[in-house]
């Protein structure tokens, strides 16, 4: 085999490798976003279908807080709520799915399965990608105390208000999603919200945490909550 053939083959392999890397960058920066947008739109459509089918039940009449039945558990990997954060953009809304598996987080935000349900006592904790897959929590550090995070499960609106954050911590710091989260400043049991994403933006060495508490709930028939009106 001549030197010419060896040099040529090595050069061709290098060019191939370079092209491969460029394609991979295109995939990560651009294509995951396209896929995630499609997947999230599909999840939102699923939710809206589901909510359209369920009867408008004038269940709990205001004032009668007699024995609220325990809520049905969410199904793993399935959407159950929509989240709105006006600070991240008036049109910013994402589906919230049960569980924080890799495949689940590609389709929306993930609810930590071991944390409480929407509006219940305890800590409702949600994770989302900072970058790639539609960058749902790219602007999470912009959240400030007093900002509203509004969720709906099709029957009620839940308005949470941010109390603290962004707080930077290590990935193994699971106490930040405890019922009374460590470092959150909360001292008593309550109805809390925790949002987590990664930090730095493209890295995975740390996590960014934001905490809030449940400010108000209202049935969907009562219209959009104050925070979403313009």
């Amino acid at each position: 085999m001549s030197v010419r053939v060896i040099v040529r083959t090595v050069s061709e392999l290098c060019i191939t490798l370079g092209t491969l890397l460029v394609l991979f960058v295109v995939y990560v920066l651009f294509w995951t976003g396209v896929k995630a947008d499609t997947a999230m739109a599909h999840q939102v459509a699923l939710l809206q279908d589901q909510w359209a089918k369920q009867p408008v039940s004038p269940t709990s009449t205001p004032g009668s807080s007699a024995a609220p039945e325990p809520p049905t558990p969410y199904k793993d990997g399935k959407p159950f709520a929509l989240m709105y954060i006006p600070r991240l953009g008036f049109t910013w809304n994402k589906p919230v799915l049960e569980g924080t598996k890799t495949a689940t987080l590609k389709k929306g935000l993930g609810h930590y399965a071991n944390t409480t349900q929407l509006g219940q006592k305890g800590n409702f904790a949600v994770a989302g990608h900072r970058r790639t897959y539609g960058d749902p929590f790219k602007d999470l550090p912009k959240l400030r105390p007093g900002d509203a995070v509004v969720l709906t499960d099709g029957a009620d609106w839940f308005t949470y208000v941010i109390d603290k954050g962004p707080y930077r911590t290590l990935p193994a710091d699971v106490q930040v999603i405890d019922p009374v989260p460590r470092k959150s400043g909360f001292t008593r049991a309550g109805r809390y919200l925790t949002l987590t994403t990664c930090d730095p933006e493209w890295g995975h060495s740390h996590r960014l945490i934001v905490w809030g508490h449940l400010e108000s709930t209202q049935p969907v028939e009562a219209g959009k909550p104050e925070a979403l009106r313009r």
């Binding site: 040529r8 392999l13 994403t197 945490i209």
Partner: protein, 53 residues
């Protein structure tokens, strides 16, 4: 490598060029559909949860 492929493609230059384009698109499709989704979680952009691991 590419010269070798080119020499082994059938037909005249136009047909070979066409086959090359189709082959390239097929490779890109396989990469985007199968290889990259597999490789991407191995990179660090994806961890947004706190966990015990």
């Amino acid at each position: 490598m590419y010269g070798w492929i080119w020499r082994h493609l059938p037909g005249n230059a136009w047909l070979r060029a066409l086959i090359s384009v189709v082959l390239t698109l097929a490779v890109v499709y396989v990469l985007f559909q199968y290889i990259f989704p597999w490789a991407e979680p191995l990179l660090p952009f994806n961890d947004s949860t706190v966990n015990d691991k």
